[in-house]
């Protein structure tokens, strides 16, 4: 199949039949459709030049190819009366299910990362990147503890002339709830279910970190590498932590984007509380 589309209601996502990657996204409610893709970046955690990456420090030394990944993604399409879903396996330790519901105007990205392999003796930071044809240039917006959105500009500081020594880490900002880009026609945003770091290094990109596994200490006081060889027990050797998360992906018109973004943000901050009990008739 040259391309596979999943769509329920207003949101439609198209996937490329040869690479298995997402290729386009549309929101019929606002008459918007555009090229868009989702991929993962594996940053090589620097352990040299005098400053290691570590618990306090993100200092990547380039990126690594996605390990153990065949050159194409196998897809599993799920279609049902309430929602449809596309399941992609980027690597045995890296999975993404993209879900669209019939009565929702945004998509849910359900990702599972880990245990991150480190047989190559390299620490790694894993980031998800949503790329699109939103002409955002070098501007993006990050939330301030869930309140107003602050404008960020790549390789720029408003209060002094930045000498760029860390082209990636120097453009990562703290995110609590949202990362957004827009041009005069459309807005795209990701809504997070936890705090993390994020950026937009290229026009149309939304990138945020989902997991990291570091093999060296950064000499800032922890005195231990962020490597999870013991997760939960002292002497057992643990393969490493798995992380699962759900991120909302909003695509809307430039005027309606902020409203939809805040609606999805409120839901991420206050997930439903569900309780059960047996009924004996």
């Amino acid at each position: 199949e040259a391309s596979i589309k999943i769509s329920d209601g207003n949101i439609g996502l198209t996937f490329d039949g040869s690479s298995g990657l997402m290729r386009g996204m549309e929101n019929q409610k606002y008459g918007i459709q555009m090229e868009s893709s989702i991929d993962f970046l594996v940053y090589n955690s620097s352990n040299g030049q005098g400053q290691n990456s570590g618990a306090y420090i993100f200092r990547p030394e380039g990126t690594l190819p996605l390990l153990n990944r065949g050159d194409k993604l196998n897809l599993t399409v799920v279609e049902g009366p309430l929602f449809s879903e596309m399941r992609q396996t980027f690597a045995p330790w890296l999975h993404l299910s993209t879900r669209v519901y019939g009565n929702r105007d945004w998509a849910e990205l359900m990702w599972r990362v880990g245990p991150i392999p480190f047989a190559d003796n390299l620490g790694k930071e894993i980031s998800m990147r949503v790329s699109s044809s939103v002409s955002s240039g070098d501007e993006f917006y990050t939330d301030s503890n869930g309140r107003d959105m602050l404008k960020r500009v790549v390789n720029y500081r408003p209060t002094w002339d930045l000498q760029v020594s860390e082209p990636v880490a120097g453009n990562y900002y703290p995110l609590t709830a949202a990362l957004a880009i827009h041009d005069d026609k459309s807005e795209m945003a990701v809504l997070l279910d936890r705090a993390c770091g994020g950026t937009s290094l290229n026009s149309g990109d939304l990138e945020f970190m989902v997991h990291r596994r570091i093999l060296a200490d950064d000499a800032r006081g922890v005195g231990e590498a962020l490597n999870e060889t013991e997760c939960g027990c002292r002497d057992c050797h643990c393969a490493g932590l798995r992380v699962a998360g759900t991120t909302g992906l909003v695509l809307a018109s430039a005027t309606d984007g902020p409203g939809l973004r805040r609606q999805v943000q409120a839901r991420k901050e206050s997930p439903l509380v569900t309780a059960f009990r047996a009924i004996t008739s």
Partner: protein, 217 residues
């Protein structure tokens, strides 16, 4: 309730920058997680008591709307006790439980209930100040025949989907996901019934989604 103090103490401890950013040794991070977990468990049991109190007080006829959606007691008007009782004389004495690992489709209660065909009452709480349409997803045993009803025993459409193997590595085979839409009032509760037996005639049985693998060209 001093049960909440335990959660409050845990949250105040993890406001330390080392807890928020993870700049701590593994053992310290594990300790933060343990404190939060114990505090969260205590608060959940308090919520469960609250759910039981609010819902059972409806059954004893202290009001509520007959759409099966339960609003805070002081706002309720129409007695929806009949509504709950209209569901074939349900005995609702059991306590509520919650499942913190629902996000990775893990819940012993719903999985065993479906396998033993134990009907369930599900309560959903919305903490937002706006009414909310959302979805609830529950793990159930494979091949369950199931129907969902709202609090007024109106049938609700639902979907059964096989789990992606990576959601629960090594234990996804005999579990499926039951998803259904819910409507909840602002700062309010809504009640649903998930029935595996004695399913009324007017039921809409859960539909199984179609899954197909696509190998890239």
């Amino acid at each position: 309730s001093d049960v909440l103090d335990e959660l409050e103490n845990a949250v105040s401890i993890v406001l330390h920058h080392d807890a928020i950013t993870g700049t701590a040794k593994q053992a310290v991070a594990d300790d933060y997680a343990k404190r939060l977990y114990k505090g969260g468990e205590g608060a959940a049991s308090l919520l469960n008591q609250g759910f039981k109190e609010i819902i059972d007080s409806k059954v004893r006829g202290r009001g509520g709307d007959d759409d099966g959606v339960i609003r805070p007691v002081e706002e309720s008007s129409v007695n929806d006790g009949d509504v709950l009782q209209r569901a074939e004389g349900l005995d609702l004495d059991n306590d509520f439980v919650q499942c913190p690992l629902l996000n990775i489709s893990t819940c012993a209660f719903t999985e065993t209930s479906s396998r033993s065909k134990q009907n369930m009452q599900v309560v959903v709480y919305n903490n937002l100040a706006q009414a909310r349409d959302d979805f609830v997803h529950l793990p159930i045993g494979k091949e369950s025949s199931v129907a969902v009803f709202d609090g007024a025993m109106n049938p609700v459409a639902s979907q059964i989907t096989g789990l992606d193997p990576s959601v629960r590595p090594g234990s996804s085979e005999d579990v499926e996901d039951l998803g259904f839409a819910v409507q909840i009032p602002p700062k309010g509760l809504a009640v649903y019934y998930v029935l595996f037996q004695n399913i009324p005639q007017n039921a809409t049985l859960a539909q199984r989604s179609k899954t197909r693998a696509v190998s890239p060209n």
